[in-house]
């Protein structure tokens, strides 16, 4: 047992010290952070003035939205369906619908648009609505507080000085309003779909591709490692100290740890870069400027809401939107499944790659064995594109149950919600298959690593399975 740990340690350390590992570890997060940051910039670069209709049933926000060089707001007074049709007919950009709230203040709105409504528009809307609602609430609170202290108080006599003294932390907490903005796309046939799905699709596809990428990257690292040992002839020295199975498992586990390390570093570094970006450019990213504006005991700038410019508010809403959508996904299941399917899929393919490495003398000979092994993986990635459009269909079901494709396809499906029994079945099958694969790979490996100068056929590999120790 000690020896397998030594092998794992060597495999791990020799890889994480490599230049390529360090370069990948640094480049990965930069690319991923760019995925978050670049779209925000791109959305600001558009110079076309977009027409946005506003259907405000509350009447609170009439004339609160100001035209800018990017958006031209126009108020409509009709019912929702007519407004939608009208917006479509005149090729407007979006329709903002603020329904009359049932009980309290307006806290939600909907954007209807043909294309995905841009992040900065949503940010602006949320910020304007938030400010207005908070302002109204604040006024009401102040009046209530003052009346509590002085029942004879006349609202019209309120002066700035008394307002300042009254605004407390508690009040600020009370008035904090979260505007819920639902974005709804009007499809070609006027069909409405929630753009929430897009986040699910994005997350699913991203997870699927990540698993595909990890299996390929680290699986072939295992294979190259085995070939390296065979070519350099060190393998005979090693197997006189450890069992071939220990050597193989040590290598597979060591490389898996490298993969997990890389993944963790990516997550941490990506978060770090995004955080640094937020701190360095607060005007781009700050999400809670309302709280700062209304500091307890400070003068309330009367014109605060009028001075808001677009940049101040758009990015936090982008983050909020993504986080909100991400919240709709079962996070626990997602992370657990990702680690499980990454390890399961990697062990399954890693074992097969190790067996291939053992069966050949050099990397160019791997082709004939690589093909059949990689076909299910490539197939899975192709099928994934159909699966995201129909995550409940029979194709999605079967490909997420069959162990050779399930690590990828199941990850694509999970953000859409998968019944637990399907998940359990898929995981059980994957576990059984990788145990079988590791066993078979161990048999092939044991014979293959000491076999030189022989072109091995599939039939030959089959025979190796049944050789006695």
């Amino acid at each position: 047992m000690n020896k397998i740990i030594l092998v794992i340690k060597r495999e791990y350390l020799s890889r994480v010290q490599k230049k390529s590992f360090i370069v990948m570890t640094i480049l990965g997060p930069i690319l991923m952070a760019a995925l978050f940051i670049v779209p925000i910039y791109l959305s600001q670069m558009s110079d076309e003035v977009k027409k946005v209709d506003i259907l405000d049933e509350t009447g609170w926000f009439i004339n609160k939205f100001e035209n800018s060089e990017r958006f031209n707001f126009e108020y409509v007074f009709t019912d929702l369906e007519t407004a939608k049709t009208a917006m479509m007919a005149k090729k407007g950009y979006a329709l903002l619908y603020i329904p009359r709230p049932e009980v309290s203040v307006p806290a939600s709105a909907m954007i209807f648009s043909e294309k995905q409504a841009s992040i900065d528009l949503k940010g602006y809307i949320k910020s304007v609505m938030g400010k207005e609602v908070e302002n109204q609430k604040l006024g009401a609170e102040i009046i209530r507080e003052i009346k509590k202290a002085n029942p004879d108080f006349n609202a019209s006599a309120s002066d700035t000085a008394s307002r300042e003294s009254i605004v407390s932390e508690e009040i600020l907490k009370n008035i904090k309003t979260n505007i819920k903005l639902t974005s709804i796309r009007i499809g070609e046939q006027g069909k409405e779909e929630k753009s929430f799905t897009e986040v699910s699709m994005g997350v699913g596809m991203f997870a699927g591709i990540l698993i595909y990428f990890f299996i390929f990257l680290f699986g072939s690292q295992v294979m190259r490692g085995v070939i390296e040992e065979k070519v350099s002839r060190i393998v005979e020295v090693i197997v006189s100290s450890v069992k071939p199975f220990q050597l193989m498992m040590g290598k597979i586990v060591g490389v898996a740890l490298v993969g997990l390390t890389q993944f963790m570093l990516w997550v941490v570094l990506t978060l770090a870069i995004v955080t640094v970006f937020q701190t360095v450019m607060p005007e781009k990213m700050k999400s809670n400027e309302t709280a700062q504006t209304f500091k307890p005991g400070t003068r309330i700038p009367a014109s605060a809401e009028a001075n808001i410019n677009f940049e101040e508010a758009e990015n936090p809403d982008n983050m909020d939107r993504i986080i909100e959508a991400l919240r709709s996904i079962d996070y626990g299941t997602m992370i657990f499944s990702f680690i499980f399917f990454f390890l399961g899929g990697y062990l399954l393919y890693g074992a097969m790659f190790a067996a291939i490495g053992a069966a050949v003398d050099n990397e160019t000979d791997t082709q004939q064995f690589m093909m059949p092994v990689t076909i299910p993986l490539i197939l899975a990635i192709i099928v994934a594109q159909f699966v995201i459009n129909n995550p409940e269909g029979p194709v999605a079901f079967w490909f997420s149950i069959i162990p050779f494709t399930s690590p990828i396809i199941m990850m694509v499906r999970i953000p859409f919600g998968v019944p637990y029994w399907e998940l359990a079945l898929s995981m059980a099958l994957l576990t059984a298959t990788f145990i079988a694969a590791v066993w078979m790979a161990g048999r092939i490996y044991r014979t293959g690593i000491l076999m030189y100068g022989k072109k091995v056929s599939w039939a030959e590999l089959g025979k190796w399975l049944f050789y006695k120790g």
Binding site: N2, K3, L6, V7, R10, S14, E228, E229, V231, S232, R233, I234, E236, V237, I238, V239, S240, S241, V242, K243, P244, L450, Y452, K463, Y467, K468, G469
Partner: protein
């Protein structure tokens, strides 16, 4: 009591039999030559001893103990096809291989330091293996083979790739190891080094053991009662001088001296040969012709037949 013994080992592969019913005893603190033509089954036997593969039939014993997994730490193996991780640093790698043999890290460091100094390669500790010359790599390989002070050492062609100076260094080390108590199995095709180093040998041909014993005893066994005489002062035919039954094997003249080689009948004494010559010639040298291991090897393998070359 043999320190290490192999009992009735048979190993079959799909197409052929690598070892059939092979037994041998390796006495303690001796150098045991494991000989045989290519493809005879030596490597298969060595792999069985190292527990890389298992035999189909038969057993291997360490004294009275049956070979078990924990014995790998008592064996040091230098394979014929050797290698190291090319991208790994020399010291790191030596440390790793020593630890795989169960040596603790601090112990391994101490011992490696000693050996690296002895072999004058301490400057290479932090170099990558691929930067080393072949001879240097072989030295590192030799060190990691013996670093855990194994009681049984298996050297498969240990001298290949070494220059004569290093061959001598290595020979001295091997003899030293025996002196310090190690038992050594030595596989080679170099018969000169067998004569020089081995106490006992076993010859395997075509999966069968065809010869075993001490080097001295085997040489004695293969003696043919042949003698050679160097003389001058006589240039006539030699055969006429010889007693009946004596066979002239060779007759040649080098510079001034004539050298004849004569095979005697089993019953005859070498003094009879001298007596036959003395009246006619003046003798410069007289010696018994003892077969070399090389001759014994070739003779035995040919006699066993079915010698498949390089198969």
């Amino acid at each position: 009591m043999a320190y290490f013994s192999v009992r009735n080992i048979t190993k079959r592969y799909a197409a052929h039999t690598a070892l059939s019913n092979v037994s041998m005893d390796v006495p303690e603190q001796s150098i045991f030559g494991l000989l045989g033509p290519n493809g005879a089954g030596k490597t298969s036997l060595i792999r069985i001893i190292n527990q890389i593969t298992g035999p189909d039939e038969g057993e291997v014993y360490f004294g009275n103990e049956k070979l078990a997994p924990h014995h790998v730490d008592r064996i040091g193996y230098l394979p014929e096809e050797r290698g190291l991780y090319k991208k790994m640093k020399v010291g790191e790698q030596a440390l790793y291989l020593a630890q795989l043999k169960g040596v603790s890290k601090s112990d391994a460091l101490k011992k490696l330091k000693y050996w690296f100094e002895k072999f004058e390669i301490q400057a290479w500790w932090n170099k990558k293996v691929e930067e080393l010359s072949k001879g240097m790599q072989q030295k590192v390989q030799f060190i990691v083979t013996i670093i855990h002070e194994p009681s049984l050492l298996i050297f498969d062609e240990p001298f290949s790739g070494f220059d004569p100076i290093n061959v001598n260094l290595l020979k001295d080390e091997i003899l030293n190891l025996r002196k310090n108590g190690a038992t050594i199995i030595f596989s080679t095709h170099n018969m000169a080094s067998v004569e020089e180093l081995c106490d006992n040998i076993a010859l395997i041909n075509n999966s069968h053991k065809i010869l075993e014993g001490s080097v001295k005893e085997i040489k004695k066994r293969y003696k043919t009662n042949t003698y050679s005489i160097d003389f001058d002062g006589y240039s006539g035919p030699v055969q006429s001088l010889l007693p009946a039954g004596f066979m002239l094997a060779e007759d040649k003249t080098d510079d001034d001296l004539r050298q004849v080689t004569v095979t005697l009948p089993a019953s005859a004494n070498q003094n009879e040969l001298l007596n036959a010559f003395m009246p006619y010639v003046s003798i410069h040298a007289f010696r018994e012709i003892i077969p070399t291991m090389n001759e014994i090897f070739i003779k035995t393998v040919h006699a066993a037949g079915n010698h498949s070359i390089n198969s």
